[in-house]
């Protein structure tokens, strides 16, 4: 299960609704008895060279800085988030190909600039995504 405070989710949704391209960023936190607790998020710049309304890419340096931040603050990069514009919060093939096991991939669906859904996914041993339950006490 992925625990994430409602305030953090609201922040992600606000960013996702405010721009005409896919937003993206990092989920920081820790693991406890198999659960994953997000304590911080950090927005990243979408540096995809084109179609940023349909694709995202995080620069290697920005990702390295995020890993360093986690290391310096005794946190873990639990995963990444990004938005899908006018599309469900379901991972695409490009999401799957670029994904790594052990991490959470949180997707915010925005339809006509309005929040629609948020879902989290993790890659299984067969390199397919399984949905990860988000603690719904933190979400309206």
């Amino acid at each position: 299960m992925l625990y994430i405070e409602k305030d953090l989710v609201d922040d992600l949704i606000a960013v996702a609704e405010s721009i005409d391209e896919e937003c993206c960023g990092f989920l920081f936190g820790y693991e406890r008895f198999g659960d994953r607790i997000v304590t911080e998020t950090m927005v990243a710049q979408n540096v995809a060279k084109n179609r940023r309304d349909r694709l995202f890419e995080i620069s290697p340096k920005e990702y390295l800085d995020a890993e360093r931040y986690a290391d310096a603050n005794n946190l873990k990069v639990l995963g990444f988030y990004h938005s899908h514009l006018d599309h469900p919060a379901i991972p695409s093939e490009s999401d799957r190909i670029a994904a790594y096991p052990e991490l959470s991939y949180l997707i915010v669906s925005v339809i006509n600039r309005k929040f629609k859904d948020i879902r989290s996914w993790r890659l299984n041993a067969s390199a397919r995504f399984d949905e990860e339950v988000i603690n719904d006490r933190t979400i309206n």
Partner: protein, 92 residues
């Protein structure tokens, strides 16, 4: 020996260790030694041609080795080598 910083997605292949001391005179030697010590890392860090794949970025301190001498970039005692997988995706 140089320090190799392993990012979260690859730590499952290094017994959850984030920082490793690895000997080598250049990046190629360090990566070779690292994958020798942790064979499961090899398929992520070395492609069929024996090269570091395009979706893996390697930094020597704050510089991408593509802007230095690539895999021949010299490594010193206090060098920190960071392995940085590409993070990308999207609805398409």
């Amino acid at each position: 020996m140089a320090t190799v910083f392993i990012p979260t997605p690859l730590r499952k292949f290094t017994n959850n260790t984030a920082k490793l001391e690895v000997a080598g005179n250049n990046v190629s030697e360090v990566v070779s030694k690292l994958t020798g010590n942790f064979p499961e890392l090899k398929r992520h860090l070395i492609n069929a041609d024996g090269k570091i794949p395009s979706f893996i970025n390697i930094f020597v301190d704050d510089d991408d080795i593509r802007n230095l001498q690539q895999e021949q970039t010299v490594v010193k005692e206090n060098t920190i080598i960071s392995i940085v997988p590409a993070i990308a995706g999207g609805r398409e």
